[in-house]
C-alpha cells in the first residue's frame, strides 16, 4: 500500500458520489425522504436547513454511519468504479474512513484524540497506512500545522490546551493529511466566535480548492454555504425543497421556505 492514496486520473464527468432516493425515518418521524443527487470530484455541495430539517440524518447516511431505509449511496473507489457503500465489508469501510474520506465534526473533540499531541493526531493516519519514519511523520505533521495556520511550537501540545478554533483547524489537518477525495463537514464553524469563523472558512475554501477535494457541508448558516459551496440543497421537514447553484438559489429563491431562510438572515 503506497504511503498516500493516489487516485487514478478521473474523468471530470465521472461521478464521485451518487445518491439515489435515500430515505430514513425513526418510527413515525421522517428523518429524510427521497433524497438524490450526484457529486463530482472537486465539487462542494452545501445542505442547509434549520434543526429538525433532516440534514444531519442525511449526512449520517451519506457518510455510512447510518443505513438508509431505502435508496442507495455509491462512491467511486477509484479502481472498480462506483460501489454501494453499504455493501462494503467492515474492514473496507473502516479503511475508507481513514484514507479516502474525511469527517469534520461540529465539535472538534469528537474528531480528535484529546490525549494525543497535535503532531500525533495528524500523524495517526500516516502511521495507520504504514509510515514508519518518526522524523518524516513529524515533518509532515509540522507541514500540515502550517497549512492550517497553527503555530509549529504547538506540535507536541495536547488539543485540550487549544482554543475551539485551533482544535477545529487541527481536526481539519488530521483529516486532510491523506488527501481524501471526499470530506463530510457537519457545521464546521458552529460554536466558534464570528471572527474565528470567517478565518476558518477562508482557510477551508483555500485548502479545498488547492487539493481538489469534494465536500458535503451541512449547516444552518447561509454564510458558510455562500463561501464554500458550489451547489446547494435546501431541506425542510426531511425533504429537499430547492436545489441549484449556490448564488442562483440564494439570490433568487423560488420555494417559500428558501425565501424565508434568505430573508431572515440579518444583513449586518
Amino acid at each position: 500500500m503506497s504511503a498516500v492514496m493516489v487516485s487514478a486520473p478521473v474523468d471530470e464527468r465521472r461521478p464521485l458520489l451518487r445518491v439515489e432516493s435515500v430515505s430514513k425515518s425513526y418510527g413515525s418521524t421522517i428523518g429524510c425522504r427521497d433524497v438524490g443527487f450526484t457529486l463530482y470530484p472537486g465539487e462542494v455541495i452545501g445542505i442547509v436547513g434549520e434543526s429538525g430539517s433532516g440534514k444531519s440524518t442525511l449526512l449520517n447516511v451519506l457518510s455510512a454511519q447510518l443505513p438508509p431505509d431505502s435508496g442507495r449511496v455509491e462512491f467511486d473507489l477509484g479502481h472498480g468504479g462506483l460501489r454501494d457503500i453499504f455493501t462494503l465489508s467492515e474492514p473496507e469501510r473502516r479503511r475508507l474512513m481513514r484514507t479516502d474520506w474525511g469527517i469534520v465534526h461540529q465539535n472538534p473533540r469528537d474528531g480528535l484524540r484529546m490525549d494525543v499531541s497535535a503532531g500525533g493526531n495528524v500523524g495517526e493516519r500516516l502511521m495507520a497506512i504504514g509510515q514508519r519514519h518518526y522524523a518524516n511523520i513529524r515533518a509532515e505533521g509540522l507541514d500540515w500545522l502550517a497549512k492550517v495556520e497553527l503555530d509549529a511550537s504547538r506540535v507536541d501540545h495536547l488539543p485540550k490546551t487549544f482554543s475551539g478554533g485551533m482544535q477545529q483547524r487541527l481536526q481539519i489537518a488530521r483529516n486532510l493529511v491523506t488527501r481524501p477525495r471526499l470530506v463530510f463537514m457537519d457545521e464546521p464553524t458552529g460554536g466558534l466566535d464570528v471572527s474565528v469563523q470567517a478565518r476558518l472558512l477562508d482557510l477551508l475554501r483555500g485548502l479545498v480548492r488547492e487539493l481538489g477535494i469534494a465536500a458535503i457541508v451541512v449547516t444552518h448558516d447561509l454564510a458558510v454555504v455562500r463561501l464554500l459551496a458550489d451547489r446547494l440543497m435546501v431541506m425542510w421537514k426531511g425533504e429537499v425543497v430547492e436545489q441549484g447553484l449556490t448564488d442562483q438559489v440564494l439570490d433568487d429563491p423560488h420555494h417559500p421556505y428558501t425565501q424565508l431562510l434568505v430573508s431572515s438572515v440579518l444583513q449586518v
Binding site: 474492514p91 499531541s117 500525533g120 502511521m127 519514519h133 518518526y134 522524523a135
Partner: protein, 301 residues
C-alpha cells in the same frame, strides 16, 4: 534423562493428574493448537478457577497442566529466579498434583514456566517455554473495549500502537516502554510478550523452543511456534534497543545478562546481580568470579 526405568510418578490421587480433568485439558490443548496455527493470535478459552489466585499464574498453570506428562521435568521461575516465593509455590503445586521431576537447571527441563523473564541460556528444540501473562491485549491501555480491539487485530489496524510510540518520542525523546514491549509476530499479529524486560525480546525471534502464553484471568492463550519471526515495534530512525548496564554481575562477572539492582545499605550502596539465578550459579561453578563473588560457593539453603 537417565537410561534406567524411572519410578512411576506419585501424585495426590484426590485429583486427576495435574489437577485438571481430561476434558478440560483437551479443551485447552485445542486452544493451544489454534494458537500455534496462528502465531500471536489470542485464542479465547474456557479458563477454570485454580487453587492459585488470578493474576498469580493461573493461565501459565493451566497451559502447563494441559501439556505436561508424567515423564516430563519441570522448571519454574519468577523474575528469573527459581526460589522466589511464587515460583516455589507453583513448583510445589505441580509436585503435589502431578508428581513430576523438577529442576533448576534450564537445560534439563522439558517445560519451563516463567514469570517476567526468558532464561539467559539458549533453549533447545523440544523444550516448551510457558509464559504467565497478566494482560494479553497489547492495545488494552490505549483502547479499553474488547469489542474494538478484536476488530483492530482482525483488520490489522495497528496505527494506534505506533501513535503511542510516537508520543513517547515526542515527550521523552525515547520510546518509554521498558517491559511488555509490543512485538509483531510472523509479520501479522501484534502481540504482548508478557511483562518481560525488552532486554529479552530478541530471544523470542527464531527461538528453537515452543513458546506458549497463558492468561488465566483474561482467558486467552497464544503461541509462537519455533523458528518464527518476532519483531519489536519501532521507527526506522528510532530503532529498538535493549537495556545495558555500566556494571557487570558482582557475583559471576557476566556482562551479557539482565542484572537486578540490590540495595546494600541506606547510604546508596548498591550492587548488580544476574536476575537468572541458575545462569549465575552455573557461571560461578565454572570458575567465573565477579568483583564481589567467591568462586564456586554454594549459598546456604
Amino acid at each position: 534423562m537417565s537410561a534406567a526405568m524411572p519410578a512411576p510418578v506419585q501424585w495426590d490421587t484426590a485429583y486427576n493428574f495435574a489437577y485438571l480433568d481430561e476434558q478440560t485439558k483437551r479443551m485447552i490443548r485445542r486452544a493451544i493448537l489454534k494458537a500455534v496455527a496462528v502465531p500471536g493470535y489470542q485464542v479465547p478459552f474456557g479458563g477454570r478457577e485454580m487453587p492459585l489466585a488470578y493474576g498469580w499464574g493461573t493461565g501459565g498453570i493451566q497451559v502447563t497442566a494441559s501439556v505436561i506428562g508424567p515423564d516430563d521435568t519441570l522448571k519454574v521461575i519468577d523474575q528469573g529466579a527459581d526460589d522466589t516465593t511464587n515460583a516455589v509455590s507453583i513448583r510445589r503445586f505441580f509436585e503435589r498434583v502431578a508428581g513430576v521431576a523438577t529442576t533448576e537447571a534450564t537445560e534439563e527441563a522439558d517445560i519451563i514456566q516463567t514469570r517476567h523473564r526468558i532464561p539467559e541460556a539458549e533453549l533447545a528444540e523440544g523444550q516448551v517455554l510457558v509464559y504467565q501473562v497478566p494482560q494479553p491485549e497489547p492495545l488494552r491501555r490505549l483502547e479499553p473495549r474488547e469489542a474494538e480491539t478484536r476488530k483492530m487485530h482482525g483488520y490489522a489496524e495497528y496505527g494506534l500502537m505506533h501513535v503511542n510510540l510516537y508520543e513517547d518520542i515526542a515527550r521523552y525523546g525515547h520510546i518509554a516502554t521498558t517491559y511488555g514491549y509490543p512485538v509483531m509476530v510472523n509479520g501479522r499479529y501484534l502481540m504482548s510478550p508478557s511483562p518481560i524486560p525488552k532486554f529479552d525480546n530478541p530471544k523470542m525471534r527464531d527461538m528453537k523452543a515452543l513458546q506458549l502464553f497463558g492468561a488465566g484471568r483474561e482467558k486467552r492463550i497464544y503461541a509462537i511456534p519455533p523458528y518464527t519471526s518476532v519483531k519489536s515495534l519501532d521507527f526506522e530512525d528510532h530503532p529498538f534497543t535493549v537495556q545495558s548496564w555500566d556494571d557487570c554481575c558482582a557475583l559471576c562477572g557476566a556482562t551479557d545478562s539482565y542484572l537486578d539492582e540490590v540495595i546494600l545499605d541506606d547510604r546508596g550502596g548498591k550492587m548488580f546481580v544476574c536476575s537468572d539465578t541458575h545462569y549465575c550459579g552455573q557461571r560461578r561453578a565454572d570458575g567465573h568470579v565477579g568483583p564481589q563473588g567467591v568462586p564456586g560457593v554454594e549459598e546456604a539453603r
